[in-house]
Structure formats: C-alpha cells, structure tokens
Symmetry: C2
Subunit: 453 residues, 2 copies
C-alpha cells in the first residue's frame, strides 16, 4: 500500500509530505489549525528561526532552497551588547561563507505547504483535530473543529509530526513500556518588537544575531525582512534566581520598565511598545521532550518535536526535525517497502542524535546568557579559532559541527566535550589566543582526536 497519513502540517509534516510524494506515496496530512495561508494565523510559536546546514540540505533535496534563500537574512555571528552599551562581534564560522539564516516560521511553513500541494499525491486537510487512535488497526479519529463532524481514517502507515504536545504521543504513552519525559525549564520567554527605522531601515546591524547576555537571563534579537527585529527575553519564572530577575517580580509596569531601562539601556528606546508587548504578549514556556520507542512496528512513527522537542538555544529544533525527514527518506531508499526496517533504522539513527542535540541546546543556554561575556570563555574561543585554522579537518568547533556540518549531533557532543577539555588545559597558561603552548596543543589533539572530515 502506498497510502500514508501524516498528523500535523507544521514545518516537519509539510516537508515530509513532499519527500514522500516524491517517492510516489499518496499522502494525507491532517492539521488541527486552520490554513495559515488564508487565516493569517501563524500559531503560537516564535516568529523567526535560524535555518542552518542540516535544514538547508533538506530544503535543497526537495528543491525549495532557492525560494527560501530569497526571504532569509544571513547572520554571520553574535553581536554582544554589554550593559554599558559596548558592542562586540563574535563570528559564527570561519569566514563570510558560513552563516545562519533568520527566516520567518510562517513564511517557511506556507512555502512548504504550497510545494506539498503542487504534488497530486498530497492533500492537506485543515481544522482536523486528532481525537483518538487505534494503533492496532491503524485508525485515527479526527474531529473537524469548524463543523464538529468526525471522521475515521484508516491507513497502513501513520507518521505523527504534531509537535511538542503531540496527541499521537499522548496515546502511545498509555502503551506499556513507553518511556517518556517532559521537562520544563524554570525560564519563560516573552517576545518584544523593535520596529524598523525610517524607510524600513534596520536600527541595528542587520546581519547578526543580537544577544544581551546578563548572567541569569538574556535578551536576543533576530532581523526580519521588513527592517524590524523580533526580540525574545528569556527570564526565570519565579524569584528563586534573584529578586528582580523574574517574571514574578516584574508584575507591575513600574518594575518592568525600571528593569528594562537598567538592564538594556541601549535597547530601551528602540522598543516603543515595551509595556504593551511585555504585559500583553503571552509568556512562552521551554520544554524538552524525550521518549522511546518512537515507532510501533511498521505502522506508526513519531518525527520532529513530537518525539524530541528541545529548548531553542542552539537554533536546531527545526533543523533536527528536517534532518529526521532526510534520514527517513534515506531509509526508504535503502529498504523500499520494508517498513519494519525503515522505521526501525530511522529510530536507531535518530534517537541517539536527538538526545545529543537536546543536551547541546541546554548547554548553549548557559553559554549564551552567561559565558559569551566571560573573559576565560573568550580566551578559549580565541584558542579554538587558532586550532581550527591549523587543524581544519580535526579540531572543528562544536558550534560549527552542529551548525555548519551534518556530522551526527552525538559525535558533535562527544568531540565537543573532548575539545573543551583541551581548550581548558591550553588556556591555563595562556594570556591571549596566540600565546598558548603550541606543542602541547599538537600533542593533546594527536592523543585525543581523530580526523572528522
């Protein structure tokens, strides 16, 4: 049978439907929300994302990259804003050929849906809420959110791409021996908007991801094509981390205003609607989801956030989900119609790497909010850059492995830790990024790392 049901037409589900249509499958995608191309509703998630190598690879495979590239804004590095207003730029890659791309979640999703529907084998049905599943018989109940009509959909293959709060996964959780964990950070986030200047000009450097690292909290900003920036404030929910630095404490306009003025003086003037944004926009939560198994024999598979939602601090959530699609596609190429093997190899290849990017993303929060303005950290970064130049196929910075390569996340995590130890060792006696002990570096790298490229 060539019929596949996908639950969820978000980024992962839409992309996957294209991959599968290209292989000749008949794909029905059931989406709970209305068609965002008509309603203008972008969903509750953050507005822009950082598209990088893994995601780009998938978009190239389905032939969409040239289109997306036109609406993406390259970000070549971090622009660090200190409290005093001082700026410093930390390049992400080795030169201008390596960058991440700010792209609108809604625009990307709409493009993927358009592309999907160009395939006669794909249909997307909207306003369809999954209200029950019979895994044994491959039957899903959907309820039309507009009409209240219910329908029973039977298919041989169900792939759930219904996100971090997946309804399909919630049903799987009732099956014995299904391991599951959802963990919330004690941090929430709030979106704020820096509008464009006159004539749609950008009020800050357009080609950077802006960070205001403040130790226990941080503000970031990504550019939008219209000249505006979408800012996100990551802040503890409650008072446990320090009196003023929490949503709980900032409960009055006066307190919020004073906090912002003090902590982000260079930005305060640029957000005219600060109080409105702060008190009217919802406070988002940050969840990590891990589960196992992801599959039920040859009949059901979870993909993307549905099985491995992560915190956003490495900009890899979407990229990881797209890489799931690439991997599943390769397994289909390898095993044809043997779905037991397809699903089982997909699970084996992706589970270990999803666990790794979950850990990497959590680590990167500490780096972003705290370390990027730390003297020792900056010294290690400088030594890292030197070593990368000297050993471009061996000592590849963790950030580069994750962002600018398709090296498995689990390998990036492991090598990243070894490299971090080497850097700590070398930075002990060093006063600058050039003055570290080169012979010791050669020895350590030879001992502990093999070539990766």
């Amino acid at each position: 049978m060539k019929k596949i049901t996908i639950v969820g037409a978000g980024l992962a589900g839409s992309l996957l439907s294209v991959y599968l249509a290209k292989k000749g499958f008949e794909v029905s995608v059931y989406e709970r929300r209305p068609d965002m191309r008509k309603s203008g509703a972008a969903g509750g998630k953050s507005i822009n994302l950082a598209l990088s190598t893994r995601g780009i690879h998938a978009l190239k495979e389905v032939g969409l990259y040239d289109e997306i590239r036109k609406i993406a804004i390259p970000m070549y590095g971090r622009m660090i804003h200190l409290v005093e207003g001082e700026l410093s730029f930390q390049r992400y890659g080795k030169d201008d050929s390596e960058y991440i791309n700010a792209v609108s979640r809604a625009d990307l999703n709409k493009s993927l849906m358009d592309l999907a529907e160009k395939n006669p084998g794909v249909k997307i049905l909207f306003n369809q809420r999954c209200s029950g599943i019979d895994f044994k018989n491959g039957e899903i109940n959907f309820r039309n959110e507009l009409t209240g009509e219910t329908s029973l959909v039977k298919s041989d293959r169900i792939i759930a791409t219904d996100g971090a709060t997946s309804a399909v996964r919630l049903e799987m959780q009732k099956i014995p021996r299904f391991n599951f964990a959802q963990h919330y950070e004690n941090y929430g986030y709030k979106e704020l908007m820096i509008p464009s200047g006159k004539d749609g000009s950008f009020l800050m450097d357009k080609n950077a991801l802006h960070i205001w690292p403040r130790g226990s909290f941080m503000l970031i900003a990504l550019p939008n094509p219209d000249g505006s920036f979408t800012c996100t404030l990551f802040l503890a929910y409650d008072l446990s981390l320090g009196e003023e630095n929490s949503f709980e404490y900032l409960s009055t306009e006066e307190r919020a205003d004073a906090f912002f003025k003090k902590q982000f003086p260079d930005t305060y003037e640029m957000i005219p609607d600060f109080k409105k944004d702060f008190f009217h926009n919802p406070t988002g939560s940050l969840m990590t989801v891990k589960c196992y198994p992801w599959i039920i024999e040859d009949r059901v598979a979870l993909l993307g956030d549905a099985c491995h939602a992560i915190v956003p601090f490495f900009g890899q959530g979407m990229n990881a989900a797209f890489e799931d699609c690439t991997c599943l596609n390769e397994c289909i190429e390898k095993y044809g119609t043997d779905w037991k093997k397809i699903f089982s190899e997909y699970q084996e290849l992706r589970k270990i790497n999803s666990d790794a990017i979950a850990d990497l993303a959590q680590e990167n929060f500490i780096e972003m909010r705290d370390l990027v303005s730390d003297r020792d950290f900056l010294l290690r970064k400088k030594i890292e850059t030197e070593l990368y130049k000297k050993y471009p196929d061996t000592f590849v910075p963790k950030y580069s492995m994750v962002t600018f390569s398709r090296i498995p996340y689990s390998v990036a995590l492991k090598r990243g830790r070894i490299q971090e130890e080497i850097l700590k060792e070398l930075s002990k006696g060093a006063e600058s990024g050039e003055s570290f002990d080169k012979d010791k570096a050669d020895k350590l790298i030879k001992e502990k790392l093999g070539k990766i490229f």
Copy 2:
C-alpha cells in the same frame, strides 16, 4: 467546605479516606474497578507486599494494625538460595524484634475499605471510570463501567490516588510546566506459585523472604498464610543481557523448562504448574514515575503511585504511599482549613523523599539480584553489623533506616551513600567482618556522620 473527592480506592485511597473521615470530612471515593470484596478480583498487581515500619505507623494511626497483624507473616531476613542449593540467611534487623511483614494486597485493601465504610462520612462508589476533568471548576466526569451512565462530580478538593497510570495525572500533564517522566526497566516479572505441602505446611522456611540471586536476573518468594509461596521471576525482556536470560529467548516450553531446571534446581520440583504459570500468567512491567508539581493550588493533589510509582525492590511502594497519607494528615492538623498551605507543605515534604526512595529502590535491585551472593558485599555487610552495634544511634544500616525507621528517605539515601564509602574504605584491608581497622572506623564515622537518633 468539608467535601473531598478521592479518585481510586486502592491501598492509598482507602487509607486516606479513613484519615480524612477521622478529621470530619465528607469523603467520596470513586473506584474504576468493581468491588473486590464481592467480585473476588484482586486487580492486576502482585499478590503480596512487604509491610514495614512506615506502613505500620499509618495503620496504627487509623486503628487497623491489630487486625492486619493477624494475617501478616513476619520475615526476619533474606534466605539466599545459591545455584548449588546451598542456603544462607541474612538477617534484616538487629534481632528478632525487627522484621518485615508479608501481607496480601487484596486482604489489606479489603480491610481498609471495610474500615472506611464504617465511617458515615465515607462512601465508596465502584465501577466509576474518570473520563475527564475540569481542574478550574473542580469537576470530574465519571462513567459507570457497568451501566454506561455518566455523572459530573463537583468538589472543592480532589485527591488522586489512582495509581501508576493515573488518569488524573494524565490530564495534569497537559497543563503547561508540568514536569513528568515515566521510565520502564528493561526487566519484566512473572508470578509463579509454590503450593503448600501436606496439611498446609510450608515447603521452605516460612519466616524469610527467599531470594535466588543470579546476577542479571533473580527469583524471589514470599510466604502466604495458606502455606503457599508466591514467587516472582525478574528477567530481562530481550536478549541484550545474555542469550538465555530473557523472556524473549524463553519462548518455548523446552527452553523455559531447561532454564528453570538449570538456574533454580532446588525449586524446580516445588512448582508443579511451572509451564502453565510461565506461559499463562501475564508478564508484568516495572515502571518509575516522577512528576512535579503534585498539586494545583488548594484544589487538587496527587498521592501515592499516581505521583511516584517506584520499582518494588525495596518493598516500599505501599509504605511510601501510606507515609504520604500520614504526612497529609499532619499538614491538615497543622494548617486546619488552609488547603493552599496543606497541599503545598505536603508536596514539599514528600517530593524530595519520593525521589529518594525511587533511587533507593533501583539500587536495591542490583543488590538483590547480584550483590547478596558477592564476597566483598558480604564482608561489607559484616563490618556494617559491627559498626551498627558499636554506634547504634549513628551508623544505622541503609536497609534499617528505610525499613525499620521513619527517617526521611532522602536522609537515608544520603547517609547510606556516606556509609557505603566508609565500608568500602574499611573493607580494603580487612579479611573478615571483625578484622577491620577499628581506629580508622572511629575516625571516619566521627568525621562524616552525625547522630541520627
């Protein structure tokens, strides 16, 4: 308002209803299953439990201990069965005054229900499945499993004691910032029965918990009042731990029979229905549940397995749930009708200790299946006994703290780890339990442990 709804009339729910009735509350207990006192259905769980100090304390408080004591069988220690048939006895406590009690889950539950219904303020409603909850309005939908009738129950206070697969918790999981993890061991269990001998005599020592430790798996047996023993085989599900030692491999009568004969030769003859038991009884799974928060303001609380299901290897699942009831009762005594404070202190006091007993129970599996026949472990045990004699209020064995005291589990875990380090240190130079370095012991204990009693 004095009305409280309890979901689940298992051991914890039934006991809690008595505690609450004694405080003057009007309690309705909704139970999904039929009344086990009429139907004879004991539920899917293991048949006998090990009642110890924490559980006994609760039963004493509600006035049920004298009755239960009559149907309980004291177990004074572990009886280790080696493959060669050799037996060795390892005492649990310091003397015959310290023992754990084999008691039938069904009998205990029935007694608790009878006791509950003696209170005019308690009613238990059976065959009532929780089919939906509105936490905001304190409304629960129940569906009568016999008649199909549905009812809407509104109350100010909901306490969920509906076990490891709690329906109430599943609803709470959808609330933002609810942390949750369910973890299954790669081990399953199978119940087997050793019938009584002639005239209801016991075929093995009645007053012991029998263990056949075999490294990666084990068999245990607890006595029943009718002279039989309920055995439980704990075995890996799949082949990963060694070819023959898994349910997956033992898929034919021939293989299962050969395995049992080889591994448990002294027991093989005593289980006449081995093949029937092995292939007809269901394979149970072993789950650990952790979650947080346990409460919603002053309206909802989880209790017992519903918020902290653990593996059975320390015999503390029921004891921990009963201790939850004792704690909640104390919080009511302390705060009267301020349920916000009652629930919040209950959660604070119990969460940390539930996490601790979950870890202790997992550690004890390794001890039971592997270490109890290990030479170094036995040496450490002997030194432990000596030190306990010398420092009865300071060096209390971990097993005793957990089983024969009401020391918080978290304290038992912490002190247990310190003591284990001391024992490892002392056993290095020792050849027997008497020959260890006494001065060093004095020094280490003085340095690392304060008095506990």
